[in-house]
Amino acid sequence: MGVDRGGITGMKRQETLADHRQDLRRYSLRALVASVAVMAVLMLLFARLYFLQVVDHEHYATASRSNRLRLEVLPPVRGAIVDRHGELLAVNVPAFSLSLVPEEVDDLDELIASLGGLIDISDADIERFSQQRGRSQPFDAVVLRGHLSEEELAVLAVNSHRFQGIRLDAESVRSYPYGPLLAHLVGYVGRMSEKDLKQVNADRYRGTRFYGKSGIELVYESQLHGDNSFRIVERNARGREVRELQRGTPGAGELIQLTIDVGFQRAAVVALGDQAGAIVAMKPDNGAILALVSWPAFDPNLFVRGIGNDAYQGLLHDPLRPLFNRATRGQYPPGSTLKPFVGFAGIEEDIDVTSRIFCPGFFQLDGRERRYRCWKRWGHGSLDLVGAITQSCDVFFYNLAVSLGIDRMHHHLARFGFGARTGLELGRESVGLLPSSEWKQAALGEPWYLGETVISGIGQGYNSATVLQLARATAILAQRGKDVRPHLLLRTEESEKYAVQAPDATWDTIIEGMTAVVHGPKGTARKIGKGIDYQIAGKTGTAQVYQLSQDKDEKKNRGEVAKKLQDHALFIAFAPVENPQLVVAVIVENGGSGSGTAAPIARKLFDYYFANL
């Protein structure tokens, strides 16, 4: 060693070169050895591949053709939907379905034909099968017929040995125990479509057969769905399961608890009777919706099974439009229910509302001929704002509207949420319309006319609102300006934000008028104030659907007008007046008058609430 080192350090050129050559020779030998080794090892690998791909090819080819280990999807259990007390509104029930694994079937058409000889398989089933097949992974089981009856199941089970590649699976199917009662609210699921699949992560939805199509089922789809998992099974050549080798655990979907009280919801539907309309009952302090009714409705269970075309067309063309969610989508003229809010705007703008105005039964703009009629033909005599709310005097509000002007009215009504979506989780909510001169110019390209201001003062004309908006505005009023966000998902926080800020006296005036609507001797809804041990503040509304002529020579009596042209009946209310616990907004389509039709329904709801909740 010492010698070597000396050789390098005390080098002469020749020696270094010699040394280098020696080094190189030694290295070349090693490189040669390495080359041989590399070749040898690669040849060994090639030999191994030859063995696998040529010698044992048949064996592996067979194994590949009928690969017996199958990765199969375990779909998650969809989360339940319950009401505020945990009552089940949407549940899963087991149902048997017949599916095929196309890869295991020799002649698909023939198989479907012979299965059709045993049980009923419709063209729609076959079409759906082809669609589902298009989006499934190889060796996934594709449903051919769901909801097998016990008889069908038995027939198939007995004959199953004759067929290759069929599966009889218990799948979990959605069921809505309350049927039409919550159809618009809870919504429904249906067989997953191509379009649905584009909305989601395909891996997470592999094996999922149902997808939320409307309502809470649609809006909370991703929470309700859960996470799928897989199992590995060994199947024999005929596709029969030999043993399960590994099983993952799917993550169940979340439970969705709603603010709804299903008993209350039922009471609301019963109170509405067989009339078409919508009801919103909400807690004003936090916006929790206790009942949300749109009637008539439909049975959501029909959609789960796949509603037939005839039945669907029937629903679609029903003149009462059962598929339409009136509570969130229906836009109605708010009519006189808008008056408390217009009154509020008047006070806020320092217009003198305490002086009495004389109502002769009509109103005329200065220097114009046209008479705007009060609903009371012979007039109310003289009254102030409180009296005008109590008796719903149109003339008072015609005057007030003209004093305010459309844009100031717009400003104040917007603070109560008119003309804006409430943001309820159900989505697809209508926005209503709160007109302004700016809006009219933009939308219609026309200037605003004073006559339009007049009728806006009583919630007619361009004005429209949803029942949900009315409920929210009423709740803001009941809370003396505190903002209220209607919601359906049970939570407890209260809003501390104010939508409207005004002196107490302002609120007192409006609420005084609304209380007299029910409890005053001249109140339009005084009938529902009888035999009551709590105080309701409310406002009736009768919204014109058909513009009955205001002219003198109007001969038609309202009773003669066809039902579908009759006025909508509205009522908004909260109670108790001192400490509001419940807000109710009711619309009965073509119900006639707010006082006669809508107010009694609200009374029933308040009674139910204070007796049971």
Binding site: Y27, A31, L49, Y50, L52, Q53, N67, Q137, F139, L245
Partner: protein, 357 residues
């Protein structure tokens, strides 16, 4: 001398292999062009680095070796302290822009350091230099084992040992060392993680555990075997596409290749690998100095181990360890490291003329 220098033969073979890799990646990903594009970007980065490194004089690496070695150790320590846990093993270091596996770099840095350490030592290698070299190997390997990453640890060890072999360890010592290594197998067994032991056991009898570790091997053997002589054709490999084959774009991509291109394709691929290896050895044998020789030899050795360990694993003759198929598997770290290595190889080749003149 001053113009842009690279080894065109090496580059040609590399490009062929990378192209095969892209074609197979496309198929293994089920026809996902985004996968191919992502890989193309990595290829671009890797080739750029390679050609840049090729311009650097090789003595530069000689000077840099100790600093790089310390830097590598520091990175490994950083992973130990602050690394991300991916798939249950702590290997990744998050650099903000990209995640990076420092153990991957060790495959180059360790042989570099050993090559420098041994390049001045004359033949035959004195035992205490061998001991010193072993220490240089053991330090990083111990850290990598702690991650735990058995595959990389074995690769780093093997590449270090390859340098010792090329540096001229006496045949007698080599045989003795091999014997000692065999004797240490039971000790290693004792320190292995459960899943690592299972993989070794499964190798001996895959069917004993058709679901756990054996599942991979069985499925990949079915994929290869069913490919036959001519293969099932590009994009037609049922095993991979039916998702029987796990990790089909990464560690098990060879199975996809073998299924779709058959024994003929495998022959072509192995021939390309062989050509690359032989060219590498030729470059090493004609290198200008002892450091260059050792360095080049080590790079060839690493590449060789990659090929053998991966194909051996997929073909069911070696245990399942996480080693990608070089230049073919989807993924960035190993591709960039390998191309970096080939850059060094080209740099070594470029400096050959300094001696021959």
């Amino acid at each position: 001398m001053k113009y842009f220098r690279f080894d065109s033969l090496l580059l040609a073979i590399l490009l062929m292999l990378i192209t095969i890799g892209l074609i197979v990646s496309y198929s293994a990903s089920g026809g996902d062009m985004a996968v191919v594009k992502g890989q193309l970007i990595r290829v671009g980065i890797g080739l750029f680095i390679m050609l840049a490194i090729a311009q650097v004089p090789s003595y530069f690496f000689y000077r840099l070796a100790p600093a790089l070695f310390l830097f590598g150790l520091a990175l490994l320590l950083a992973v130990e302290l602050a690394g991300d846990v991916g798939k249950g093993a702590q290997r990744w270091l998050d650099l903000g822009v990209m995640r990076f596996q420092p153990s991957e770099l060790s495959k180059l840095i360790v042989p570099l350091m050993v090559a420098r350490y041994l390049s001045e030592r004359a033949h035959p290698l004195p035992w205490r230099y061998i001991a010193g070299a072993l220490l240089l190997i053991v330090l990083p390997v111990a850290l990598i084992l702690g991650q735990p990453d058995l595959g990389t640890a074995l690769m780093v060890t093997a590449s270090g040992l390859a340098v010792i072999f090329f540096a001229g360890i006496s045949w007698r010592l080599m045989v003795g060392g091999a014997a000692l290594g065999l004797a240490l197998v039971p000790v290693a067994w004792h320190f292995m993680h459960d899943y690592q032991r299972r993989r070794v056991l499964t190798l001996l009898d895959p069917s004993s555990d058709p679901l756990g570790a054996g599942y991979h091997i069985i499925q990949s053997m079915i994929a290869i075997g069913s490919g036959g002589v001519w293969g099932k054709g590009w994009m037609n490999g049922t095993q991979a596409h039916l998702k029987f084959l796990p990790e089909s774009s990464t560690d098990f991509i060879f199975a996809v290749f073998a299924e779709e291109f058959g024994l003929v394709g495998c022959g072509v691929l192995l021939t390309l690998y062989l050509a690359l290896l032989l060219r590498g050895l030729q470059i090493s044998a004609t290198a200008g100095d002892s450091f260059g020789r050792l360095m080049a030899g080590a790079i060839v050795a690493i590449f060789f181990f990659y090929v053998v360990v991966n194909i051996g694993m997929v073909a069911g003759v070696l245990p399942v360890v996480g080693v990608p198929l070089p230049l073919i598997s989807y993924g960035g770290s190993s591709l960039v490291t390998l191309l970096l290595g080939f850059g060094v190889l080209m740099a070594v080749r470029n400096d050959r003329k300094m001696w021959t003149k």
